[in-house]
Symmetry: D2
Subunit: 95 residues, 4 copies
Amino acid sequence: MEGHGYSGHRDDYLKRLRRIEGQVRGLQRMVDEDKYCIDILTQISAVNRALESVALKLLEEHIGHCVAGAVLEGPEAAEAKVKEASEAIARLVRS
Amino acid sequence: MEGHGYSGHRDDYLKRLRRIEGQVRGLQRMVDEDKYCIDILTQISAVNRALESVALKLLEEHIGHCVAGAVLEGPEAAEAKVKEASEAIARLVRS
Amino acid sequence: MEGHGYSGHRDDYLKRLRRIEGQVRGLQRMVDEDKYCIDILTQISAVNRALESVALKLLEEHIGHCVAGAVLEGPEAAEAKVKEASEAIARLVRS
Amino acid sequence: MEGHGYSGHRDDYLKRLRRIEGQVRGLQRMVDEDKYCIDILTQISAVNRALESVALKLLEEHIGHCVAGAVLEGPEAAEAKVKEASEAIARLVRS
């Protein structure tokens, strides 16, 4: 299978990641301006959720493209890809 | 595809879930004996992690069996199963 | 300070923990009856959230009682209790 | 109580947030260069953990400074600050 599940719409991912980059710079401004801790914490949770959404979308497309491609290839390729995807899911659940 | 990814070794899952049941009863004893809050919180985190391990194993077997089976069936079945699995992953990440 | 933040209403915690124990037994039944993986995963996320709610309530009462008590005792006692509570929060965030 | 718990060492927070900003730009490069999904997912988990560390440190200092200050002020101020901090912890646990 050519490319990755997300290859066809990288712009969407880039747009979302640039927004997240802007949010992180916003956190820097809040610290610089000595904003109230709770407001900064609220914003950090928002950035975390935005990152998780990107990861969950990427994961869905990876399973639907790369893992599915390995399944069509054969059991051995499928097993390796499923294990790899499961390890990525575990890291996401525990981060 | 017959049964589910986990069907072949339900005993292992039952054993782990019974252990978790015992841990939850242990939490009840700690509360009953007025144990220190932090010790109870530490035990709750341990039960959470044990539950997550069961979920991650179940997910891996679901992707390798049910989702893979749908992929072999065809694109439409695959897309539905991938979407369903991704929603389960999102619930796990956000719980 | 006598007892812990939760000491005054242990029954509420015991009731919630017994319900969670019942949910974990429900998971065992689902596995025993070879239920669909996604349904079991959905139920595991629900048990996780129920456990987290117990932990968050316990934490709030610990901060309001034990940590606050240490603050009134003096800086040294306060610092130790704050550090201990923060480590419990970190375990919860990462479980 | 003057300022916030973190006010005395904002540089440390700024340095960590700038590093996170750089990591998010790194994610953009990975997408741009069509890197493998799993590698991007691994990096997202790393950024999540870095953000969580900032949040956990900020929380510890908030409890030790702002919440402690409210405790010394009196029960009413303490209760409000404890509730506010607990809600921030819940958002962090669930993000």
